[in-house]
Subunit: 452 residues, 2 copies
């Protein structure tokens, strides 16, 4: 008996080296394929090829599905045409297409050559939808019922069509033109008498998406309405496919990654960190770096306008980092919360006054704390210093707290109002804006107060 | 016939005002309850109470589930004990408990008083688990099979237990001690002959979580293994409940919000932006603001150490914002990508050298671009200026690009290695660290190069 918890790439390599087919088959029958795929991904192409030769077709297909895309591409180039054929037959079409989308055109052609006519047209249909659309993600394997079917007929259909279907939890009902007219859960069907007509038990208020809807729209829809399967229709409302919740979770995760990247001044980068090429990473980061660098020179030129004051009182420049950092952080806290609120549909442009009054109150409170904290810091650690500069610094901090929180709260909602992406109004941009304002206020106050 | 697309709070108020019971019932039968709940939430308590009086029990319960928590609490205080009783009977226990957790103790007692013995002990069991644990989220309504059951017996059980169950898509198999021994999907059962024994078709490699596992652990598990239902066991491996994927999507969303908040130096804040109290928001933000303000004084005192240089050449201070902003943004870009990589399990501490070498290459490339961009900016817009200061500034930018990217890439992985939260090593902290380094390098270079 193998201890499955001990399984690791070295053990797997040993089994393969020793051609221990029986042990390997047992291992793949018993252990979870997701965990195994992670281990297999570390093996050499030759070793993985051996596994594909000895494992059952279904297990091979599952293993293939969970391997990273770069390993998949390597496998495809090593597969015989028979192996490709069997892989196409066993994989779900949507999983296959998901992977094909990232392959070079010549490899796609090589794979399509092995597909039979029906498969080829299915694959081509899915490949024809734009990336990130519902159409490109959907599965064509689903159960389709007619409104006039009896429960008994429906169960027969489910048993017949359901073997290959991605899910049978919800079945969709279509009319003669294959237009979507309703949905009914397997559970509802099971609890009804054989003679009941589907029409009488189906839900006619079906939430659906269209093939060209963005995948994020579909994911949000499924989340809002607690759906595990969503029907995808074309422009004529004909039922074309379904998407399931497990695919959507990955979509939601990708969208969050994109949001987080945008909020850190990174242009959306496809693929994982390690998989991304050097030039893609540089490209995704350099644009905003340059924009923000140039806009920061505005702050510099504001300081430049007060050259005389600095010459007379160089101590003023010591507080530049503290004021800039505090104002920037205060602004990005506000903008982050508002952006996230917009993304999860808890905030809308109509809430703009609620947000501003909340941020104002938060700013007055935290501004007072910051003001006092800074004065106490000075009194405790620098008891013999001239207080007037510190009063200017603390007052600037207080005023900047109010301005930063208001700017941070306002700009994402304004962006949303103008149909722009609120996430673009995140920390880096907010920081640059409030930095400039902070320096303007700081030196103006110094000029007025200290008379220098 | 009502045009459901026209439904809005005003229309609903009119119907209620006019006591148009038939129209209201029709509306609630036909329109999606999620959309309706959003509209109902805008009505007055009296209006909502009227709806609860006239709507069918099942519709009322669904409506109640989708109302915001503050509206729910208002309803509960207005409900008669009969209404509370009927609500307890109709709601899923996990939805009820989810809401009870946020209520004051006296209201909870008032509700428990109306529950029958079995319900009360179920509610108390769920309430006894810590917030955010799998136990507090799970549903107690599920289908339980025995390994010796035949498919025919299993279907009978499913039909009997399944009416109230949260899902029947996957059924779990237990032994005499109610220990979890396997799982079998409804689909597998349907495709088998009546006489087949569950033992022979069940999956014995069941992924499960325990009642005290953090909800995030369960969500990650379900995401990793593409599960739509997860069994929850106690320490003796006895099956206690199930959690379903729709609850988990909300958990994943909350965890992302928490991550994003941490990355903007905000302590995790429960509840939505508008629902959170002023003092909760201030508390969540002020701690990091103070910490970062104080640590920014370090940068200030570095500048202070070069007081003489600034006095001699005040122009040096004009470039402080640009250098700080560019270094900070470069560092937060790197840390954001690495933190996100860790969160989505694409990066681990073992990848530390891959990350550092990648960031180094990215830094050298973007550093060169930044260096040149800054020199070109000077040559084009300030053709008559002395270049030496700008060479110092551009060189500082180049060096800081390398340092910032390395620090940003390293610290989150280091935090992970030390079992700390990588998200704490996000933009605000990274910025403060690289700001200090930037000023040190800038003025040291100025001292050496310009001899001032």
């Amino acid at each position: 008996m193998i201890d499955f918890n001990q399984c690791n790439p070295t053990l797997l390599s040993e089994y393969i080296e020793g051609r221990q087919v029986k042990n390997l088959r047992e291992l793949f029958d018993e252990m979870n394929i997701v965990d195994l795929a992670e281990i297999v991904a570390e093996l050499s192409v030759e070793e993985i090829m051996f596994l594909f030769k000895i494992l059952r077709k279904e297990i091979s297909a599952q293993l293939f599905t969970y391997l990273p895309n770069d390993v998949k591409a390597q496998m495809i180039t090593s597969f015989t045409s028979g192996q490709i054929k069997s892989m196409i037959e066993t994989l779900y079409t949507d999983d296959l297409v998901d992977f094909l989308q990232d392959l070079p055109a010549n490899l796609i052609r090589q794979i399509l050559k092995e597909a039979d006519h029906e498969q080829r047209s299915e694959i081509n249909l899915l490949l024809s939808y734009p990336s990130y659309s519902a159409g490109s993600l959907m599965s064509l394997d689903f159960v389709e019922l007619k409104a006039e079917d009896s429960v008994k007929q429906a169960i027969t259909k489910i048993k017949r069509q359901g073997k290959d279907a991605e899910t049978i939890q919800v079945c969709f009902v279509v009319d003669e033109q294959r237009n979507l007219v309703g949905s009914v859960s397997l559970r509802t069907i099971l609890f009804e008498d054989d003679e009941t007509i589907i029409k009488d038990i189906m839900d006619i208020d079906v939430i659906y998406a269209t093939t060209h809807d963005d995948q994020e729209v579909v994911a949000k829809l499924m989340q809002r309405y607690d759906m595990t399967v969503a029907p995808i229709v074309n422009d004529e409302l004909r039922l074309i496919g379904i998407v399931t919740i497990d695919d959507m979770i990955d979509v939601l995760e990708d969208e969050v990654t994109e949001d987080i990247q945008k909020m850190a001044a990174i242009l959306p980068l496809e693929g994982s960190y390690l998989e991304s090429s050097l030039s893609d990473i540089v490209k995704s980061r350099i644009a905003w770096l340059l924009v923000l660098m140039v806009s920061a020179t505005l702050t510099g030129s504001i300081i430049g306008g007060f050259e005389e004051q600095i010459e007379l009182n160089p101590a003023l420049s010591f507080f530049i980092p503290m004021i800039m950092s505090t104002a920037g952080n205060a602004g990005s806290q506000a903008s982050t919360m508002v952006i996230r609120g917009i993304v999860v549909d808890q905030l809308d442009t109509k809430d703009i006054f609620k947000v501003l009054s909340k941020e104002l109150m938060v700013a007055l409170l935290s501004g007072s704390v910051i003001f006092m904290a800074n004065m106490i810091r000075v009194l405790v650690f620098m008891p013999n210093t001239d207080l007037s500069v510190h009063v200017v610094v603390s007052t600037t901090l207080f005023i900047m707290m109010v301005i930063s929180k208001m700017v941070g709260g306002l700009l994402p909602l304004l962006a949303k109002k103008l149909n722009q992406d609120p996430a673009a109004m995140a920390a880096p941009l907010i920081t640059t804006i409030v930095d400039a304002l902070a320096m303007l206020i700081y030196f103006t106050l110094a000029l007025l107060w200290l008379g220098i």
